[in-house]
């Protein structure tokens, strides 16, 4: 089986140490976490974690079972290839002179991204959407100098009325 990115969603009890326990299930096998998003749920006693990790699907399946086994983990699910909304947000800082601005802004417009900071020499662009979309804008902006960039990692929510 080929390695690919898996979208894992966890519902966890909001306790100190829970993140370490989860990270250890990955690191024990030498697996890396590509991205991680944590936020409290409507009930502040619980948090949602969305993890993206690469690897052998069988091993990731095992990892998910071992996550589910943790006392503080209420639920662990693989949402790869399921009917879920997966979005992320990125901030991209580009160095651009006033005469390059128009072109950058046109690109932003096309991607429904917008500027959240602008100086004489630089601009920060905020984009939200699928990971592909973020990747695309980033590669187009490479033409200008990207000073730095950061993304939140995917947040995942199941479509329809069912809970993720």
């Amino acid at each position: 089986m080929i390695d690919k990115a898996h979208s894992i969603s966890l519902l966890v009890a909001n306790r100190p140490g829970v993140l370490v326990r989860i990270a250890l299930v990955f690191s024990r096998r030498g697996y890396n976490i590509d991205s991680l998003v944590v936020s409290p749920t409507l009930d502040p006693n619980f948090s949602r974690m969305n993890i993206i990790a690469h690897g052998n699907p069988e091993i990731l399946m095992q990892i998910i079972k071992q996550l589910e086994k943790l006392v503080d983990v209420v639920q662990a699910k693989d949402h790869t290839d399921t009917n879920a909304v997966e979005k992320e947000l990125a901030l991209i800082k580009v160095r651009c002179s006033p005469d390059q601005r128009t072109e950058v802004l046109q690109l932003c417009d096309h991607f429904k991204a917008h500027t959240v900071d602008m100086t004489e020499k630089s601009m920060i662009i905020q984009i939200t959407g699928s990971s592909d979309k973020v990747d695309n804008l980033k590669s187009l902006l490479q033409k200008f100098e990207i000073v730095e960039y950061i993304r939140t990692g995917k947040v995942i929510m199941l479509r329809g009325e069912d809970k993720t």
Binding site: A13, R21, L24, R28, M61, K65, K69, V71, V73, V74
Partner: protein
């Protein structure tokens, strides 16, 4: 008591009482003093050990003996780090222990204060669960949860990190049975479809084999395992930790399988058309080379831990649940199978390839063990350390009862056996003697607990199986590394009889096979506390049968090979 506010430490001790704890194993230090102080006013017995590793192995031995939770109480920093081997050992063998580890005060956390240690941080990977208590009022709930988690489901170690201000400060929260464990699930029965599927597979099997592990023992499923074996007329093999969950003297028993298992058990594994693991986890010690293990046989797996499904191999049916409950679901669905020929074949292997050992040469460990088994009529609690003697105990001591044999399986922790015997002795209600078998190497790792055994006059027969080598490692070096012995010579061993006597424990010695019976009898008749039997054994004996690590079962070696063998590809 009604209007006096209790301290955190007093609440902890009261919670122990409420959990039915009557004995704990511990070692004090500055930050643990509040707890050691509070325990003075209770009727809980504190066994002062000589090392915190000993305390955890004792708690573990006590737990394995009684099925109850074993408790260790230690101080912060080095006291806590000394427990790690014991915690990990308990995790690997699913043994329920609670470790109460004292800690510096909460304001000192993270400041490298004296004997501060990130105990919960360091142990995350070795515990079933753990707590760092920041507020005394959380203690009643946390104590309740800790014991519940340690003993239920797949049991395991739980650590509670207890800052001194939390134990010394007041706790005003009431005692409670309420727990807050929304993520903790305990499987009980298996889904009925899975059980039906298992019954179907069994119905079609002509050559079924039951593989019984520690899970069956923990669940208390011995009677159900036996009923199933007899109802189906199916042979049974056990893992080392499963020994006793099915009586070895039963006519359907094939004894232990795996790396140093019996020829007949391993032949049955090779030849069966269905293998049903009941509370075992397809450990590499039993499967050997995985991709050829039971290649064409149907594999059924019963385990209480859902994460065991497919961890090592993909079974044809996975029954997630408690062994006892699931077997009770399954039993009414199965009938006697057409297995007469298969059982006959297995029994003929049993006759043809019995476990034996050479009678010539110096004293054989096997002889000591077989003699002890004979003289006790197999009615003894037995603990082992790790190494050659361990395998020989598994092979030559008749283990016919659940919770009769205690050994470090998953971790293979040298130094476990003797303190485990002490813990087991505290929990022993069988009236049988406790026999502790250790190698000369492993015994020296925790031998300081001789003092503990002596003080409490525990009726333990302490066998030191002295081959003056780290025998199991030496065996590998002999067989696979061209006889190049590297750091296995136990030159400098003490006279273990004198060592025992220094602690006020009588010592006996066996040097010749002819003396074994007389000396062991004498040891068994001694009723005044522990007694040590120093067995000076053949130095270069080897354990057979042996399947080299990572090799297929067909590569089983049954006697001393004439030529050098290839280096094993498997791990340890």
């Amino acid at each position: 008591m009604a209007n006096k506010t209790l301290s955190g430490a007093e609440v902890i001790i009261e919670c122990l009482k409420r959990e039915g704890v009557d004995t704990i194993f511990g070692y004090p230090g500055g930050s643990a003093i509040p707890m050691f102080d509070a325990i003075l006013d209770s009727n809980i017995k504190v066994v002062l050990t000589r090392h915190e590793q000993g305390a955890t192995h004792m708690a573990d031995g006590y737990a394995r003996q009684t099925g109850k939770v074993g408790v260790a109480l230690v101080t912060s920093g080095p006291g806590a780090t000394n427990t790690f081997t014991g915690i990990y050992t308990a995790l690997m063998d699913s043994s329920p222990i609670v470790v109460l580890a004292a800690q510096t005060t909460t304001p000192n956390l993270g400041k490298d204060a004296f004997q501060e240690c990130d105990t919960s941080g360091m142990t995350f990977a070795a515990v079933k669960h753990s707590y760092l208590v920041k507020n005394s009022n959380d203690l009643p709930r946390i104590m309740k949860e800790a014991f519940h988690i340690a003993r239920s489901g797949r049991p395991g170690p739980v650590l509670i990190d207890l800052p001194k201000d939390v134990t010394a400060g007041p706790c005003t929260a009431p005692f409670t049975d309420k727990m807050d464990l929304p993520g903790y699930k305990i499987p009980t029965h298996a889904p009925i479809q899975a059980v039906e599927k298992a019954a179907e597979f069994l119905k079609k099997s002509k050559k079924p084999l039951l593989l019984v592990g520690h899970g069956a023992m923990i669940s208390g499923a011995s009677r159900q395992v036996r009923e199933l074996a007899e109802k189906l007329n199916a042979p049974v093999c056990c893992t080392m930790l499963g020994l006793g969950a099915f009586p070895t003297d039963h006519e359907l028993s094939l004894g232990m399988l795996g790396m140093h298992g019996t020829v007949y058990a391993n032949k049955a594994v090779l030849d069966c058309d269905l293998i049903f693991s009941i509370g075992s986890r397809w450990d590499d010690r039993i499967t050997g080379k995985l991709d050829v293990f039971c290649k064409d046989a149907v594999k059924m797996h019963l385990d209480i831990d859902p994460a065991e499904e497919g961890k090592v191999l993909q079974p044809d049916v996975f029954l997630c649940g408690d062994a006892k409950l699931v077997l009770e679901q399954l039993l009414p669905m199965v009938n006697k199978l057409d297995t007469a020929d298969w059982v006959k074949t297995c029994q003929s292997w049993k006759k043809k390839f019995p476990l034996t050992y050479p009678k010539q040469g110096g004293l054989r460990m096997q002889h000591v063990i077989a003699t002890a088994s004979k003289l006790t009529g197999g009615k003894a609690i037995v603990t082992t350390d790790v190494g050659q003697h361990q395998m020989w105990v598994a092979q030559f001591f008749d283990i016919n009862y659940p919770r009769q044999l205690h050994s470090s399986g998953g971790a293979g922790t040298m130094g476990f056996g003797f303190p485990a015997a002490i813990g087991a002795s505290f929990g022993n209600e069988t009236g049988w003697p406790v026999l502790s078998f250790s190698g000369d190497g492993g015994f020296q790792m925790t031998e300081a607990e001789l003092a503990t055994a002596a003080i409490h006059k525990l009726p333990i027969k302490i066998f030191v199986m002295d081959n003056k080598y780290l025998g199991m490692v030496r065996q590998w070096q002999e067989l696979f590394y061209e006889h190049r012995y590297s750091s296995v010579d136990m030159q400098g061993n003490p006279d273990f009889v004198k060592l025992a006597e220094a602690y006020g424990i009588p010592g006996l010695r066996i040097k010749r096979a002819a003396d074994a019976e007389r000396v062991i009898q004498k040891a068994l008749e001694y009723k005044d506390g522990p007694i040590l039997i120093h067995c000076e054994c053949e130095k270069e004996d080897n354990v057979f049968p042996m399947i080299p690590a990572g090799a297929p079962i067909t590569s089983m070696i049954v006697e001393q090979p004439k030529a050098q063998l290839e280096k094993p590809t498997g791990s340890t």
